[in-house]
Structure formats: structure tokens, C-alpha cells
């Protein structure tokens, strides 16, 4: 029983990271229909900016973390201006390739300065909490809490604010938005910023575990995709539930079936879902 509790706790902690990644992907996808391959760099930049502030500029973590999120939020604006807005009327595939190119460029820039893996101390320290035989890291509790807060904030933003109303309108009909005078370009810029911020939050929370290095975001991006696919492409509840389930699957498969399977469980999820229920848990089947 204690093994089941431990596997669940660890799976939920991993899943919370993937859910945050998936949320950031969903925000951009819902508004622009672009699969954002540079989201792994939002993840990485959030961690790196925090690392620089804490270890080089000696800024306390409690200030560095939100500052890093704000920084990546602004990076999202730049990505929109440089990579997406010029290609607004280009074929969809060009927009996707643009995100891939930006990903390589950003990673290359960071690699120019360092390729080392560096530790980022956890804001919660290294002490663990014990509940019977189960061990819970305070960092994992923080991650889960942040996921809940981020979900509530997004829900509030989307369903209780004027800007959220505009965002929802944008996801339904860009043409309609433009016809009623909504500045669609500014809307996109905001979405890229919000998506970037969510990626940065995930990266900052994962960094004490993964260590900080230029390639740290790739695996989490793929598992974020897996979560999006499982939960239902483009649905917010789907991103959260899907991400958490992928984390649980990964840890549980590794423990109960095979450690080899644990590593591929997330990727296998993408394939199985696309074959069996392509719309995912919360998605609705398209009518042709």
C-alpha cells in the first residue's frame, strides 16, 4: 500500500509539471492553432533566468521566480512579433516551422554561454515530509499548488474578465473578432506571452530536480504534448487532467511493469490515444 501511495505522490508531482507545460501549449494552440515547438525554450529560459538572478545577481528566489516568469512572458511578445505576426497569412506549416527555428536559435544562444548542467536550489529546501512509508518533497507540494493556482487564475482570466471574453471570442472566430474591432494581433501577442509564462513556471518548478541546462525542456515538451493529446487537444481541463495522468502513467508503469516502459509510457500514450480515441478525454470528435 505504501508503494502505491508513493508512486501516486511521485506521479502526481511529475504530472503537475507536464500539466503546466500542456496548459502553456494549449493557450497558444487555442488562440493561434499553432503547435508551439519553442515551448521547451520557455521552460528552459524560465529556469535559466531564475538561475542567473539567484546565483550571479544574488536576488532572493522569492523575487527571482516571478521576475523570470515576467521575463519569459515578454519573450513571448517578441516571439509573436518576430516569428508569428509576420507569418499571419502564411501557410500553417510555415508558422510551425518558425517555432522550430526559434527553438533552435534560442537553444543555440544559451549553449554559446554554457552547456553545463547547473543546480538550482529549491525554495522549499531539501527536507522531506514523511507520511508512513511515503515520502513527499515540499517542492512537489509547491508544484501541485502552483498548478491549482494557475488553473484557477486562468479560469478567472478566461471566464470572469473582459480580456478573457476577448480571448474566448478569438478562439472561436478570429474573423468575427476583427469584424467587431478587436485587435487580433494584440490578442495573439498576449496569448504567446501567457503561454510563455506558463512554460517558464513549469521550468522553474522542475529545475531543482532536472538541473538547469540548455536541453532541459525537450523531454517535458514531448510529455506535455502527450498530456494534451490524452486530455483532448485544445481543451484546458484536458491539458491538466492529461498532463497529470501522463505523470502517473510514467511512474506507475516504471514501477509496476518495467523500468524500460516507464520511460516510454508518455510517448506511447500519444500513439495509443491517437489510434483509439483521437479526440482525447475531454475533446469532441470532429464532424466531417
Amino acid at each position: 500500500m505504501s508503494d502505491l501511495i508513493q508512486v501516486s505522490v511521485s506521479g502526481l508531482a511529475q504530472g503537475a509539471i507536464y500539466a503546466l507545460v500542456a496548459l502553456g501549449l494549449t493557450v497558444v494552440y487555442r488562440s493561434t492553432t499553432v503547435m508551439n515547438f519553442m515551448h521547451s525554450e520557455n521552460f528552459m529560459l524560465g529556469a535559466f533566468i531564475t538561475l542567473i538572478m539567484v546565483t550571479i545577481w544574488n536576488i532572493p528566489m522569492i523575487i527571482a521566480m516571478p521576475a523570470a516568469v515576467l521575463g519569459v512572458f515578454l519573450v513571448g511578445f517578441i516571439v509573436d512579433k518576430v516569428g508569428f505576426e509576420p507569418l499571419l497569412n502564411a501557410p500553417h506549416i510555415s508558422q510551425v516551422f518558425a517555432t522550430i527555428a526559434i527553438s533552435f536559435i534560442l537553444k543555440g544562444v544559451v549553449r554559446f554561454f554554457t552547456v553545463d548542467e547547473r543546480p538550482l536550489p529549491s525554495i522549499t529546501g531539501s527536507t522531506v515530509l514523511r507520511f508512513g512509508d511515503a515520502v513527499v518533497r515540499p517542492q512537489d507540494i509547491l508544484t501541485a499548488s502552483v498548478l491549482i493556482v494557475a488553473t484557477l487564475l486562468l479560469a478567472f482570466l478566461f471566464w470572469r474578465t473582459h480580456i478573457g471574453l476577448i480571448m474566448r471570442a478569438g478562439t472561436q472566430s478570429l474573423r468575427g473578432c476583427a469584424l467587431v474591432g478587436i485587435d487580433v494581433k494584440r490578442l495573439f501577442m498576449l496569448m504567446w506571452g501567457v503561454g510563455g509564462a506558463l512554460g517558464a513556471i513549469a521550468g522553474i518548478l522542475a529545475a531543482p530536480t532536472l538541473l538547469v541546462y540548455p536541453d532541459m525542456g525537450g523531454r517535458s515538451l514531448m510529455l506535455g504534448w502527450a498530456g494534451m493529446t490524452l486530455g483532448g487537444f485544445g481543451t484546458f481541463p484536458g491539458a491538466i487532467v492529461g498532463g497529470v495522468l501522463v505523470g502517473l502513467l510514467e511512474v506507475a508503469a516504471g514501477y509496476y511493469v518495467s523500468t524500460t516502459l516507464g520511460d516510454v509510457a508518455g510517448y506511447a500514450t500519444i500513439l495509443v490515444v491517437l489510434l483509439v480515441r483521437p479526440q482525447g478525454i475531454f475533446g469532441s470528435r470532429e464532424v466531417s
Partner: protein
């Protein structure tokens, strides 16, 4: 507007193409015998005559180098820089018989799919005289057929996979102990702890297999039961499953063969879960490096790593090398992990010196084979090669000894960061 949009789109497509070419991983074709068919023609020519030395001018000798300068194995890319500093220092001393060493350094990203492309660039496009590369084994393994077919002298830098030198290839030498040799030291240490049950967790690639196979064989020879035999990824965020499996197996010792990142995550999770058994490994992860990653000493106190150097890394004998590395690569942290290729570099310089003016590939091979008991201040073992025997891999393994290292139990910052031990009894004396 439409034209501007198209131009920007085209620009971004070109940037992507260039970036993909520079950083390509999956795009490189996975050819099981990369280039072997095309290179066979060249191989026939080189087999029957001495190749006119490419990469040599009256003033320079061009050496190709490669390693994982990026990616999950990038920690081993630092070995390339440490080796470069040895060569750069030699240039300052006048070079080799009046010729300066010129380098071409490539990034294999630790990816076997990229490696054949890297090899072809160095050997065929840059036309280097010889290649000194491969701090990480999988890319070199992937290149091996091309190395053999081309005939170019190749010095394996500091990777450990046995299959690089087994079966041996005439023009492929290794300047670092293979895992089969180091695994012997690791297995001997495990045996000295006196366990009846051992667990093994191995990275799932050729590098990991290179450690696991001789270790498992040794455990069977010692009649020590292997109660868990699991795999670990090259990059992980959580090791709960593995830790729990090892705990359930009631193993008394764990052999963990993985790169520093998964090793750090595992040790951190093992400590927090309460797994309190000695963890032993090969040369993939050094204790002081793992402490930097984990951020604490406690999870690393019972972590023993294979050690090939002659002295502790902060010994005064290594001060000149520390200064050398600091001069040419000031950001590089000097630790035991980066020193792996240095002995090979010193041996390579000696081989090139002994060749005199006959800078041909055949003469490189002949001169290297004549190297016997060449001592360097870096490795515990001198460098010795032998005339080629297709059935004997040791003819191409120049360095073969190793001991074990562990964090110094004394937490005093003035004390040496780690100690070298031959067996468990010696460690127990220090730990008391």
C-alpha cells in the same frame, strides 16, 4: 505586404534549415553501416599502400576532435577542452618537430545518428591527419565502421565502451581504460563489501551495457546474486520507481551505471526514500560533481566511483594542468571528470614526436604500437600498445588500471574533497 510576408517566411525557413543542419539529430539518416559501402574503395587503396598524409603541411599538423559539446552528455564535452589545452600548451612550447597543432572541433551532441556526419566532415572535408575524439562512447561506436574503412589514425579519447576496441581495429587506439577493465575494479570493490545480493541499474545504451555486462559476469563468478536488474533513462525527472524496486529487492549493494544527471536524481530520491546501501559506479559520474548537482553531501556519502587518475585531483602534481586549463578555458571547472583524455593527449604528442618527418598513417600506427610503459603524471596506468592482433583487443587498449573514489567522510572544507580507496576495508578505516 504579401511580399514582405513571403520574404520573412523564406528567411525563417532558411534559418531553420541552417539550424537543423548545425544541430541535426533525428534528421541524420540512421544508416546501420554508415558509409561503409562508399568507403570500401578507399579502404582497398589504404590497405595496400601508405596513404600520403593529409592534414600535414610544413608548419602544421591538423587534428580533428569531437565530443558531446551539447545535449544530455555534454558534461563529457569538457574532456575535449581539457585535451585541447594540452595541445595548445604544446604549441606554446614549439609544437611537434617544428609543426604547430591545428584543431577542428565538432559537436556530436552525444548522438550516434549525428556521429557519421561528424566523422565524414573531419576525415573527408576537413582532411585532418588524425582524429582524437569520443569522450562519449555511442557516437564513436557508430563511427567505427567508417574509422576502419578510412584507415585514418583514431585515438579514442575517454569513452569506455568495450565494443569500441573489441573487435580491435588496426587504426583505432584507446587512451582510456575500457569499462571491462574498470568494471573489474568496480566488481572487486563490490565483492570486498561482502554482499550476498546486489542490484544493478544501467543506462539503456551501449555505454551502459559496456559497464553492465562485465560487472554482471564478475558477480556470477563471485557467486553474488543479482536480485534486481533494471534500466534508467539518460535524462529523468524522478527515480521513485527505481528506488522502490531496489529497496524491495533487499539488495545490499547497488551498481548504478548512468550519466551524472540520472545518477544525481537517483541518489537524491534514494536518500529521501531512505535507501541506505553503498552505491557503486564506473567512471561516468564523479562524487564531487554529483554533490554539485544534488546540492548536498549526504546523499552522496556512500557513492563510490571508479577512479583512473594517479593522484587526488587537488594534488600539487596537477597544478600545472589546472593552470593550463584555466589559461585556455577559464570557465572550465577543473575536476577528475575532465582529465580523462589528458593522458591520451600526452601519449599522442609523444607518438607524433617519435614519428619524425614520416607523418604517414602507416607510421603513426607503427609508432603507436611501439609505445610501451609511457608514463604520464595524469593516469595511474602507463600507456602501452602492442602490435595488432585481430583477436586481442588489449593491443589497442593503452590504459587498463583503476581504483575507486568516494567523498571524504571528513566534512572539513580544508580536507581533500574525496579519497581514493582500493577496497571496503580501507574505506571503513577512513570513515571511522
Amino acid at each position: 505586404m504579401a511580399k514582405a510576408t513571403k520574404a520573412v517566411g523564406l528567411f525563417l525557413m532558411v534559418v531553420f534549415a541552417l539550424a537543423a543542419a548545425a544541430c541535426s539529430t533525428a534528421s541524420a539518416p540512421a544508416d546501420p553501416t554508415p558509409g561503409a559501402a562508399g568507403a570500401k574503395g578507399a579502404a582497398s587503396a589504404t590497405a595496400t599502400q601508405s596513404k600520403v598524409s593529409q592534414g600535414v603541411t610544413k608548419d602544421t599538423i591538423k587534428i580533428g576532435m569531437f565530443g558531446p559539446m551539447s545535449g544530455s552528455a555534454s558534461v563529457y564535452g569538457k574532456n575535449v577542452q581539457a585535451v585541447q589545452s594540452i595541445y595548445m600548451d604544446q604549441n606554446e612550447k614549439g609544437g611537434i618537430n617544428g609543426r604547430k597543432l591545428e584543431f577542428v572541433v565538432e559537436d556530436d551532441a552525444g548522438d550516434p545518428a549525428t556521429a557519421p556526419v561528424v566523422f565524414k566532415k573531419l576525415a573527408e572535408s576537413d582532411k585532418v591527419f588524425m582524429i582524437h575524439g569520443g569522450p562519449s562512447s555511442p557516437p564513436t561506436l557508430s563511427m567505427k565502421p567508417l574509422i576502419e574503412a578510412s584507415g585514418i589514425p583514431f585515438l579514442f579519447m575517454s569513452g569506455v565502451a568495450d565494443k569500441v576496441t573489441d573487435p580491435p581495429v588496426k587504426n583505432l587506439f584507446s587512451g582510456y581504460p575500457a569499462s571491462i577493465d574498470q568494471a573489474g575494479a568496480v566488481a572487486e570493490f563490490a565483492k570486498s563489501i561482502g554482499p550476498k545480493k546486489v542490484a544493478v541499474v544501467t543506462q539503456k545504451d551501449e555505454w551502459g551495457k559496456g559497464w553492465r555486462e562485465p560487472f554482471v559476469k564478475a558477480m556470477k563468478d563471485y557467486n553474488i546474486e543479482i536480485v534486481a536488474d533494471e534500466e534508467i533513462g539518460t535524462e529523468i525527472g524522478d527515480a521513485t520507481s527505481l528506488v522502490r524496486i531496489v529497496m524491495k529487492s533487499q539488495a545490499e549493494v547497488l551498481a548504478l551505471f548512468s550519466y551524472p544527471q540520472p545518477t544525481s536524481v537517483f541518489l537524491r530520491d534514494a536518500y529521501s526514500q531512505g535507501l541506505k546501501i553503498p552505491v557503486i559506479t564506473g567512471s561516468g559520474s564523479m562524487p564531487e560533481d554529483v554533490v554539485r548537482r544534488v546540492g548536498q553531501r549526504e546523499p552522496v556519502l556512500s557513492f563510490f566511483s571508479s577512479y583512473t587518475l594517479k593522484y587526488l585531483v587537488d594534488a600539487p602534481q596537477y597544478d600545472p594542468y589546472k593552470a593550463m586549463v584555466a589559461k585556455y578555458f577559464p570557465k572550465l571547472i577543473f575536476d577528475a571528470g575532465i582529465m580523462g583524455g589528458m593522458t591520451g593527449a600526452m601519449a599522442n604528442i609523444e607518438i607524433l614526436k617519435r614519428m619524425g618527418e614520416d607523418l604517414t598513417w602507416d607510421n603513426y600506427i607503427k609508432t603507436a604500437e611501439g609505445m610501451k610503459d609511457f608514463e604520464t603524471p595524469v593516469m595511474a596506468s602507463p600507456v602501452s600498445f602492442k602490435p595488432f592482433d585481430p583477436k586481442d583487443p588489449t593491443t589497442r587498449r593503452g590504459v587498463r588500471k583503476a581504483a575507486m573514489t568516494v567523498l571524504n567522510p571528513d566534512p572539513d572544507p580544508k580536507a581533500a574533497p574525496f579519497v581514493v580507496v582500493k577496497d571496503w576495508a580501507e574505506y571503513q578505516k577512513i570513515a571511522k
